[in-house]
Amino acid sequence: MRVQVDREKCIGNGMCAALAPKYFDIDNEGNLIILSEALDRGDEADVESAIVSCPVGAIRILEN
């Protein structure tokens, strides 16, 4: 499974980086950095929490 972000929607809020820091980071200019696209087993809850907390609904998980 892969993590995907719609960059047109992203507003740099950073909830994802707070809730799933292994996968997301935000730089000082507020740009989103995806640290890892491949979702590891056991991290589903963190990424799910980032997905439901994103204020613009920009994150999703793609099945392989």
Binding site: E8, K9, I11, G12, N13, G14, M15, A18, L19, I26, N28, E29, G30, N31, S49, I51, V52, S53, C54, P55, V56, G57
Partner: protein
Amino acid sequence: MQRTLEDLAYVPSLSSDWWIDPYRNFAAVAERDWIYRNDKGYEIVRYKPHQNLLRNRKLSQEHHLVAERAGIQDPDVKRFRTSFMIATVGDTHVRLRSSVAQFFGVQHVEHIRKDINALIHRIFDEVETDREIELYDTVCKRIPALTYLYLIGGDYGDEDFVARMSDSILKIFRADLSLREEIEGAYQELFEYVEGKISEREQVLSDDFLSHVLRQRDAGVLTAQEAFDMIVLTLEASTDNTSHQMAMVTSVFMEHPDQWSFIKEHPEILTKAVDEAIRYRPRSLSNSRVALEDLEWEGFSIPKGTEFFLSVLAANRDPFIYRNPNAFDIHREAPPPHQMFGGGMTVCLGSVLARMEIQEFFKVLIERYPNAVATKPTTFEYIPPVVAQTCGVHLVLEP
């Protein structure tokens, strides 16, 4: 190119004259430059640098001066205003925000949509439809008040109390020393009310917002004080802006009868149409940012404490971003997001909820009163640099 802030041209964007025709004034200055000096700081009049400053983590919202400018002396109110989520920065802000972000996220707001729809029906049930009504006071104003009571599992009979608290507390933004006692008194009443609600809810948690916050407290994510502050904050953050924006969107729809007819025939376009109306006529006039440290940005050396006024009116009608920006057009293809709810770390936490309330308001209006018409043109009041509002929206629901 290195430029200095001192060299920038001046615009009187905080004077009342400017707000007689703000769209024309912003458009005129935006043709020559994207940043100006105003009387208190710097005015940004284009979309891209506006978006850029909203996201930049070396700046944040200027909030701690609000209580000071209103002359607040009550120590409880002072404490609240300087430690609630909006006044925090950095890691504390992220922790407080992430503790409730899920509740206000897209998925959960979808989950409560039908309940909000039922609340709006309940309000319309009480409206007398055989005469002209003023929509803001009769309907719009009531929706966020009842929504707040829904969020905290309160008694809908407390609606007038909630509305009164909201009215008095928001006067803090007027920076008028003569209003101090009214504001402090309202806060004390609200503090007591929220304390009561917390003790009640503690007995049996449910799936409402208050229970969510108490679970965060019990899990050690929030302190008891932070949980309390979050419930108090949710009142002032959820009321006025939502109801005024709702009235403003109504005025836009009524001024464009062809597009309003299209919306009524194709209600699936409401999400897009509401956002286009917010772009066209936003409640918030300006986003604010203050530099948290000295920084270099776009060729400028910016000292810590510099204040920026990011014009929402100008960004939302930037001709480099929106083709034919002064036209209201619900058929725009994939328009970039407007700046009404801010952005970056401090984007409006309730933006998904506010949009949903506005969408559901129109769904109910279309379902019950598809022939509603305005009886006179809506006029507006600007309260610069923060907000705009209608001076009433007059409708006949069943002509």
